[in-house]
């Protein structure tokens, strides 16, 4: 009973945050084009439904990588680490999976994409583990290392693509992966499509969303049902007490960051193991936004793997909805501002709520401490 109540109070906080974010977005809609503002808000809220089942499929498609990066950031949070490096881990995972997808054509059909996906996960894992190693062994703060590693990943990949036969110099991007390396559709294109005459106009959704949800469930079990999860959370809550209880803090930090990196790596693999019409790694100087959106997803989802599935879907939903704002003559740039504002205002209002709660608690603790100062340490 209590558990339900607790989960609900967490959820209602997230919902309130989302409402606050939407209101903030509405203000910008009003400012930039007052006449269409209400319809605009409705368009955002409709999300994928603006384009029927195909639109819903697009929501799932956009949700896939940000659920994964949300899991990555949320998992690291549980061990008390702020993984701002999900974007770098994502790109490393994406690059390695594309490399495998292009070159390891000797692998038989079904195995090819699975191996490519796993290699991507391993690459992200290694990239995340570097952060954990620096933190555990040299006490270098994870935010610093992971930000630097983001840029190292970005330029390293640009370099590696340019010098290798992965480079499509005409389009300034990576070449297509082999057809066997593309994430299969798993029949989802038979659900998420619209009919244009007799033509099935299917969405880009693929098995990636199922993989992401499956991994989220796995993370839930890992965190809540196993001794390993018990240790990671204990370290996150109180590393001194964890040490005292004989938990190896360093091991927890390193494995937690490795797993977080692996999750982001999967995000990259799922993004770039795409057909010719899908996403490619562009050789440009921009960090993948999916990595940073993972932070908002994790915050809104209270770092809970199950919550992250829903917040990932929500953010994808309004992102897709935002795309349809163009039909109301909102400019593309302003749409990005609005969607970005909704996402970050939501996450931010959650932070503010936490700050208020914490301030209240502090005041209460202070009052208690005044009553029994002998308990001060």
């Amino acid at each position: 009973m209590d558990k339900v109540k607790k989960a609900f109070s967490g959820m209602s906080a997230s919902l309130l945050a989302i409402v606050a974010g939407l209101l903030a977005g509405f203000v910008i809609l009003l400012i930039s084009n007052p006449a269409n503002a209400v319809r605009g808000l409705w368009t955002i809220l409709l999300g994928g439904w603006n384009n029927g089942m195909k639109g819903m499929g697009q929501v799932l498609y956009y949700a896939t990588p940000i659920i994964m990066t949300g899991l990555s950031v949320g998992f690291a949070f549980k061990t008390g680490m702020f993984n701002i490096g999900a974007t770098g881990q994502l790109m490393m995972g994406g690059f390695v999976s594309v490399y495998v997808g292009v070159t390891w054509t000797f692998l038989p059909g079904a195995l090819h994409w699975i191996v490519a996906l796993m290699m991507g996960a391993l690459a992200g894992m290694a990239w995340g583990m570097i952060v954990g190693l620096f933190k555990a062994l040299l006490n270098v703060h994870e935010v610093i290392t992971s930000i630097m590693l983001n840029y190292i990943a970005l330029y390293l990949i640009n370099y590696l693509i340019k010098i290798s036969y992965l480079f499509d110099s005409l389009k300034n991007q990576s070449v297509n992966v082999a057809a066997t390396a593309v994430i299969p559709k798993a029949g989802l294109d038979q659900i998420f499509f619209i009919l244009k005459g007799k033509y099935h106009d299917a969405s880009s959704v693929n098995a990636g969303i199922l993989i992401a949800i499956g991994i989220a469930l796995l993370m839930y079990v890992l965190l809540n049902k196993t001794t390993f999860g018990f240790e990671l959370k204990a370290v996150g809550y109180n590393r001194h007490a964890s040490r005292y209880a004989g938990i190896s803090e360093n091991r927890a930090i390193i494995t937690s960051m490795a797993i977080a990196g692996g999750l982001a790596g999967v995000a990259g693999a799922l993004m770039y193991l795409a057909p010719a019409s899908g996403m490619h790694i562009h050789v440009e100087e921009v960090l993948a936004a999916q990595g940073f959106n993972g932070i908002a997803v994790a915050l809104l989802g209270m770092s809970s793997p199950l919550g992250i599935i829903f917040t990932g879907l929500f953010i994808a939903h309004i992102t897709v909805g935002g795309a349809y704002l163009q039909s109301l003559r909102y400019m593309k740039e302003i749409i990005e501002v609005i969607i970005g504002l909704i996402i970050y205002f939501s996450a931010f209002s959650l932070l503010v709520r936490d700050m208020i709660l914490r301030a209240n608690k502090k005041r209460r603790l202070k009052a208690e401490a005044q009553m029994k100062p002998e308990e001060e340490s």
């Binding site: 209590d2 049902k225 196993t226 001794t227 390993f228 018990f230 959370k233 204990a234 809550y237 109180n238 001194h240 007490a241 964890s242 040490r243 005292y244 209880a245 004989g246 938990i247 190896s248 209460r364 009052a367 208690e368 005044q370 009553m371 029994k372 100062p373 002998e374 308990e375 001060e376 340490s377």
Partner: protein, 509 residues
Amino acid sequence: MSEYIIEMLGITKDFPGIRANDNITLQLRRGEIHALLGENGAGKSTLMSILFGLYQAEKGQIRKDGKQVQVNNPNDANALGIGMVHQHFKLVHNFTVLENIVLGVETTSHGVLKMDQAREKVMSLSKRYGLLIDPDALIEDITVGMQQRVEILKMLYRDNEILIFDEPTAVLTPQEIEELMRIMRGLAQEGKSLLFITHKLAEIMAVADRCTVLRKGRYVGTVDVQDSSPAQLAEMMVGRKVDFNINKQPATPGAPALEVRKLTVDGRGGKKAVDRVSFTVRKGEIVCVAGIDGNGQSELVYALTGLIPSQGDILLNGQPIEKLHIRRRNDLGLSHIPEDRHKHGLVLDYDLQQNLSLKRYYTGQMQRHGFIRFDAVREYARKLIAQYDIRSGQGEDTPVRSMSGGNQQKAIVAREIDIAPEVLIAVQPTRGLDVGAMLYIHEQLVRVRDEGKAVLLISLELDEVFQLADRILVIYEGRMVAEMDAKTATPQELGLYMAGSKKEDRHRG
């Protein structure tokens, strides 16, 4: 003129969810030493904070010389001649004694400090009240006792008439306590009025004229100390008759359980926090390490339990453990009631059952193939809760953060004793607890001893040392300076060792 210099009448103060002071009356006579007695959480500090202007009361009034006054902040209190020596001194460590005394009320001329006048006044006050100080010494270089004298001089320098002492003896050796008592009597004779907050009965009997007792935020009564007895005061404080003596048979020490040889821990600035310490704790005895706070006790315990690295040998039942990981030491039977229960003892965001299983969750009893057996964890928690009478709002599901300090400590004690340790290291196990919880934990420690286990107790409270110890070791500046039989040791002798003014040669072997 009114008989009372300060009166607090009908004071009521609420904090969210708790009434800290409920209609409390305290009347301080001119020139008396008035003790304020109560357990932790009885509301003493709240009441003094109201008098000092840190809090405002919801109801009630404060009178000075019979006239009602408003105390809205510490400056008001100061203007009324109220001064306070806090339990944790408020001194600037890299300033001199003189600078600290005048800090905030400096005499200046055209913006330039004029210290000569101040120095003269301080020295004459020092002489008049017998408060020996060196005005030019840095605070960080002087003893705690002298720091306290500086705090007292700060009040006198501001011509305070009403002097509040908040648990002033907690940090002092027995000799320093006697000195403080002498100073307090002198101040009263000179016409100052003293309020003395404490929970130590012996000190009240020794120095106070009258005593006001609080219990759970309520006023119990005010008595003349002359006509009272420690037993009566204790009963007023606790609300029932208390027998402070626990039933303890003489120890029957067996084989060595914990042997420490030349243990050294590096401290700050090239000093040794623990310096070549050697001792043995045998099965079936309680060995107590006595000493003033900050003389290496914490580092000693951290080294023994593996929280920090050390040099030297540590043997547990003959097996060297100094190189082993904390988990291995625990599994071999080393158990630890830590000094800081919030930092080390508990994961406050975990619930009670998770905390009770903190040292067992990985055992076959509580996990299978890496999956936690939640039923086993719950069952175990219920057993400990019943056996050790741990009280909480929602039983084993209670977030530990919401539990009272006493019950948090009981949970740690239960966890650490129930793993059936070979050696139990208990660091200030009763700090901040009320008399009931304290007695209970003392009994548990004796029970562990009587079951033939070794107990190493680290305590700052001499009462506790004499209550429990079979053998006493004294630590001073990281060295063991004395070893005494608890039956023959006296507080005075112990105090001399604790202050470092007496040393045994313990580095023979």
